[in-house]
């Protein structure tokens, strides 16, 4: 649905986006991650035709955004970083303006009402935009992007300024949208990506450093065999026992303390499940096992590792002192290295898109029926 090849954007001497290529399939939710100033917003702005690229091409549904901007833009709903609201308009006027602007053909009243219900702004429908709270403004911005039901939806940090409940609602909305629409989501909130995205693209200093399916990343994460266990018992003895238990290659006391119970971090050897053995060993000694929590690697860890990996020497984060952190960091770096290497290869191999795409040009990507109506039904079922 979206094909970006060898996209470059220079601002004078500064290269904001440096030769990035990726594709987004129809119905995919792509998470676009990166630290501040990585080039996320620049890429989004180029995708939506607000900025032009220095070189490279962007195709939305087979239509090049520079060759035929009007037809390409028709396929996109965009929420910029700062929602583009006219403070003097009411929500109603604003959405009706968006409707006219996009030259929308759906039943106006019904369509706008549905959108308002989906993003839950029906109760402020008649109010002036300047009097709305940040969360409502953000939601009106989202509503504006949904007007006309475009097949591609691009959100630049959609959940900033929302309260936790609203964030969950918006994530659910994005997930439902992802069934029919192609969604690109830029954010630096990692849980968000983990929660809603099919695929993750990490960008740093204008370059893509990782491009992986979320489930692949999760799988890489699950390979580690680390647990936090909370054991009630004399700390030194417990630690000694843990270290001597066959199958455990590493054990350490963490600071968290709960009565006479301490939390220990253990790591097992590859291919061995120590959980049962550990339970019986503890039972034998009458040290109650209070809690056990598998420590997957969070996407945070990978994100930080990947970004660090690609940062030039000297800019790297200060080395963590504790041995425990050291072990974790080593592992993250390994996973990160794998992802980075693969991505670099992909980026090099990305084809220069030269072949004509006339056939795709006439493909009709518009979503005819109102998908919002069906969403409500599925939500009710839940």
């Amino acid at each position: 649905m979206i094909k970006i090849s060898h996209l470059v954007k220079n601002y004078g001497n500064f290269t904001a986006v440096d030769d990035i290529s990726f594709e987004v399939a129809k119905g995919e939710v792509l998470g676009f991650l990166g630290p501040n100033g990585a080039g996320k917003s620049t890429t989004m702005n180029m995708l939506t035709g607000y900025l032009s690229s220095t070189s490279g091409s962007i195709k939305i549904g087979g239509v090049d955004i520079l060759d035929d901007p009007l037809n390409a833009k028709r396929l996109i709903g965009y929420l910029p970083e700062q929602p583009p609201l006219y403070p003097d308009m009411t929500v109603e006027e604003y959405l009706s303006f968006a409707y006219d602007l996009k030259n929308c053909k759906l039943n106006k009243e019904k369509h706008l009402r549905e959108i308002c219900e989906v993003v839950k702004i029906t109760d402020v429908y008649k109010r002036m935009l300047k009097n709305l709270s940040k969360g409502y403004k953000q939601r009106v911005g989202i509503a504006q992007a949904l007007v006309g039901n475009p097949p591609v939806i691009i959100f630049d940090e959609p959940t900033i300024g929302l309260d936790p409940k609203q964030i969950i609602e918006i994530r659910n909305l994005i997930r439902t949208l992802g069934k029919e629409h192609t969604v690109i989501l830029s954010t630096h909130i990692l849980q968000e990506v983990q929660a809603v995205c099919d695929r993750i693209v990490i960008i740093n200093k204008g370059k893509i450093v990782a491009n992986e399916l979320t489930e692949n990343i999760s799988r890489a994460v699950e390979n580690t065999r680390r647990f936090n266990v909370k054991i009630s018992g004399p700390q030194r003895d417990v630690l000694a026992m843990l270290r001597n238990l066959p199958g455990i290659c590493y054990a350490e006391v963490l600071a968290a303390r709960d009565g006479d119970a301490y939390t220990y971090m253990i790591e097992s050897e590859v291919g061995i499940d120590v959980r049962k053995k550990l339970f019986w060993a503890l039972a034998e000694r009458k040290w109650p096992l209070i809690g056990m929590e598998a420590l997957g690697m969070s996407i945070e860890d990978i994100f930080i590792a990947v970004v660090d990996k690609t940062a030039p020497e000297g800019v790297q984060r200060p080395k963590k002192k504790s041995r425990y952190e050291g072990v974790r960091a080593a592992e993250e770096k390994e996973v990160a290295a794998g992802i980075v290497e693969k991505t670099v290869k992909d980026q090099e191999n990305a084809s220069y898109d030269e072949e004509s795409s006339d056939s795709a040009y006439y493909e009709d990507h518009s979503i005819k029926e109102d998908t919002f109506a069906s969403e409500d039904k599925t939500e009710e079922k839940k």
């Binding site: 601002y11 702005n45 939506t48 035709g49 607000y50 900025l51 032009s52 901007p69 009007l70 037809n71 833009k73 028709r74 996109i76 965009y78 910029p80 700062q82 583009p84 609201l85 006219y86 403070p87 003097d88 308009m89 006027e93 303006f97 968006a98 006219d100 602007l101 996009k102 030259n103 504006q144």
Partner: protein, 255 residues
């Protein structure tokens, strides 16, 4: 384009700026009409429309100052530029909205001339069959001329507004540019050709200044003459300014 036009029209009336413009324009035109025709006991409207154009230098920027600078400041231009409309459509929508307000005001300001016609008809009655009163073709010509000059001013105002984020600086720069155009024209006409007392004698400089003298081309319209060369001049300058506005936006995308 229609969506932008509608939005702009609405924004003129939900902001004070539209009302301020209409109020100031109508008050100024009424005052000018009093002093230039009624007070000086004449049916000649030439100086009325000439002074109206001078006042437009100050009040047209009120209309155009926020067109693009506000959009840029509020980041709403991002919505317009990512919507499936062309930049030309966007600029034209805004231009036409400003033109509608201005044209509407100009039309309403014609009520200023009613007293002239009333007095004229009474004097005609009193005299022996002689027709006395304002010359309608002259007035129509002047109105067309003022409308064209207004279009040029609005297009220039929009161009300047598209180059800045600040409404106030847009207004000030627009006033400055329009005033300079007027002053150059005045300097150009100092002295006389026959007596050889021209302030500016260099033919090239005179030619260049003549190119920007929007006001001097107005004179033929005052006599009820539809001056095609002037008409073409006004329309071209308007389109050049609109075209440059479109280019400002294109350039910003590529910067």
């Amino acid at each position: 384009m229609l969506a932008i036009y509608k939005k702009e029209m609405r924004s003129y009336f939900i902001n004070p700026v539209g009302y301020v413009f209409i109020g100031v324009f109508l008050a100024l035109s009424a005052g000018l009409c009093c002093y230039t025709t009624l007070q000086s006991n004449t049916y000649n409207t030439a100086s009325y429309y000439y002074f109206l154009i001078l006042c437009m230098i100050i009040i047209i920027p009120l209309l155009t100052m926020r067109t693009f600078s506000e959009e840029r400041k509020m980041r709403t231009e991002q919505m317009l530029l990512t919507a499936p409309i062309s930049i030309t459509g966007m600029v034209m929508g805004k231009f036409l909205a400003a033109m509608s307000i201005f044209g509407g005001c100009l039309a309403v300001s014609c009520i200023n001339l009613i007293p002239l016609y009333v007095i004229g008809s009474q004097e005609t009655k009193a005299s022996d069959g002689e027709t006395i009163g304002p010359v309608t073709p002259e007035i129509i010509g002047s109105l067309i001329g003022v409308l064209l000059v207004g279009a040029v001013f609005i297009a220039i105002g929009i161009l300047i507004s598209s180059m800045t984020e600040n409404q106030l600086s847009a207004a000030v720069v627009t006033i400055a540019v329009l005033a300079v155009m007027l002053i150059l024209n005045m300097v150009n006409s100092v002295g006389s050709e026959e007596e050889g007392t021209r302030l500016i004698n260099n033919y090239v400089i005179r030619y260049v200044i003549d190119w920007v003298s929007v006001v001097s081309r107005f004179s033929n319209f005052q006599y009820g003459i539809l001056d095609w060369s002037a008409l073409l001049y006004y329309v071209s300058v308007t389109f050049i300014a609109i075209y440059l506005t479109v280019r400002v936006y294109e350039r910003r995308r590529w910067a």
